[in-house]
Amino acid sequence: MVALAFAVHAVAHAQPLASSEYAAIVSAYRDADPRALTRISPHPASALEPLVRSAVEEAWDVRDLRAAAMLHTESGVSRLRTGRIDEGVAQVNLAAHLIDATIDRSGRHVPYAARWYAAVSEIVRVHSPAWGTALDQRRGDRLASRTGLEALARGRKLEVLAKTGARRISDAPTVHVNPVAAFEEAVHLDPDLHEAWLHLGRLRMNEPDAAGGAMHALGRAAASPERRIRYLSAMFLGSIHEREGRFSDAEHAYRRAADTYPWAQSARLALAHLLSRTTREAEAREVIAQQIQQPPGEVSDPLWTYYAAPDELLDATLRELRIEVMR
């Protein structure tokens, strides 16, 4: 899949694409066919725009809309990074249109859209600051009306501020109060906001005698349609089980996480550590050996972007977004 990013070759004088051809290219992209980017790259954004609009008007399946969005995102980012700013921005603009359409079709796709906006606007800002800011504004317009999401965003911001303060005043027990309240508000306003449940559960893990509350919240997060959320909730649940001495439950949770996200590193580290501390050394060794023999480019881990500040690990975020739309 990484090879996709390097597969862009401009070809002059391309014939206009038919709608069916465009759909086939998107389908190929979803199948991780590296030729998809090669096939789309000769066509300028201006020629593709009618096809994108048709896809939206024809109410493509949301998963296909997201796949098309990632196809144009990758096409756009590769152009931005090679100095073809205008065409790159135009391709990303097509992607934004498709992402917006997924929000219009279903509120369930808002978290994905939010992550896409956050990652891509940072990348674009590096190459075209004004348009990066415009993309941020567009994100605000698209997402601001969802009050649960507003509370979620406020919680994340408070968390960052609280952590910064905690480093100064070394007052860890108090720093999570405000973010917890914000996440509680978010899930009150929108009980299906799985990402808010995830953050709430993780913060409750740090409260004394609050494992039950944490498990409830993480259990709600585990129902997310997003693999990333399901992965992280399984990891955090495993951590709770492990520290409570329920090793069998912990192993089950870590294995579930590993199944959710192939070759995510943290799930296998957690599993190997658990096996090792329960004297299953040979199994621990096998788990680690399998993991670290993976080509580094194939390894992706939602924990990395969960740990990272919003402007870090943009490429990793893009990779996650891409993986999420692949078949």
């Binding site: 860890a172 993780r202 955090f236 190997a272 670290i292 924990l303 990395w304 740990y307």
Partner: protein, 305 residues
């Protein structure tokens, strides 16, 4: 001991220490301790079992001793290849690794793990020195640092071939910024293996604290991550396993340090004994002394039964 896969284990020297090559008998619950004796900066050679006094949980034990030079060595090199080491530092690391590997004998083995936020096995046990050098040449400095995860993986992947002694050489120029595992998990792992860990870090590393957003996520609430300098973690890891920690200036040539680590390890003695009078489970502190002469003893602090 055997059940805990302490490596400490499962092999016993059945030959006189001075009759190389030594043979090992598998299946006996024995403990092997790698011991370095120094007088100033000089390793003391030529010692016999009768020159040592070893106590397991305070109880004197009957030991056999052999010089490490006569025992196959398994070297696992774990190198930080995060973005902070890109460029000249990465080249120095490659040269230093070559210097260490070049000191290995044909019976020895080496493996190479690199880590940024991604852990990667660049060359597994049995790889030729050239394959190892080629693999390292292809590494690039990029990404964050999963130091704890890498240290745990290195200890887990130590060579389990019977009759060898395991040396882990761990280099990082900064703090952990992306691991799942806390330091405590690595320290506990180190207590349960017989690998000797030598750590190398930069003396002029000044960041002091991880910058990662999630550094205080505290997935381990009962033992919260305490952000501390990597040097402190490195020191603890080395002391527990009986190794040593080196802090070198960032611009220094690392070849001498890496080569010295292999040379130091070769200068050790392997003290082996079948524990007597100490049947309890759990942590067994080990105390090793040299009798009747000057000498500083470096050995692991104990083992978990």
């Amino acid at each position: 001991v055997t059940r805990l896969a302490l490596a400490i284990a499962a092999c016993q020297i059945v030959q006189a220490p001075q009759e190389p090559p030594p043979r090992f008998r598998v299946g006996v619950e024995s403990v092997s301790v790698d011991v370095l004796v120094t007088d100033g900066n000089r390793a003391v050679a030529g010692l016999r079992a009768s020159d040592f006094e070893l106590r397991d949980s305070g109880v004197a034990q009957t030991i056999a001793a052999t010089e490490m030079n006569d025992v196959p060595l398994s070297l696992l090199v774990a190198l930080d290849t995060s973005s902070s080491v890109q460029g000249p530092m990465l080249r120095r690391l490659a040269e230093a690794t070559r210097a260490a590997v070049d000191l290995l004998k044909p019976v020895d083995r080496a493996a190479l793990v690199t880590f940024s936020h991604v852990l990667a096995l660049r060359a597994g046990w049995g790889a030729s020195p050239e394959a190892l050098h080629t693999a390292l040449a292809q590494a690039e400095g990029t990404g964050f640092t999963s130091l704890n995860d890498a240290a745990f993986a290195a200890l887990t992947l130590r060579d389990d071939r019977p009759g060898t002694r395991s040396l882990v050489l761990l280099f990082s120029d900064g703090e952990d910024s992306m691991s799942w595992l806390p330091e405590q998990a690595v320290v506990e792992k180190a207590r349960r293996t017989d690998a000797v860990v030598y750590t190398v870090g930069n003396v002029d590393h000044t960041s002091g604290r991880s910058t990662r957003y999630g550094a205080e996520v505290q997935l381990w609430p009962r033992d919260p991550r305490q952000l501390r300098e990597a040097s402190s973690f490195f020191r603890e890891l080395a002391e527990i396993t009986g190794g040593h920690t080196f802090r070198v200036p960032q611009e220094d040539d690392l070849r001498e340090t890496f080569a010295r680590i292999v040379t130091d390890f070769r200068s050790r003695y392997v003290l082996t004994y079948t524990p007597a009078g100490v049947d309890h489970a759990g942590w067994h502190p080990i105390e090793v002394k040299v009798k009747g002469r000057r000498g500083r003893v470096t050995a692991r602090r104990g083992y978990v039964k």
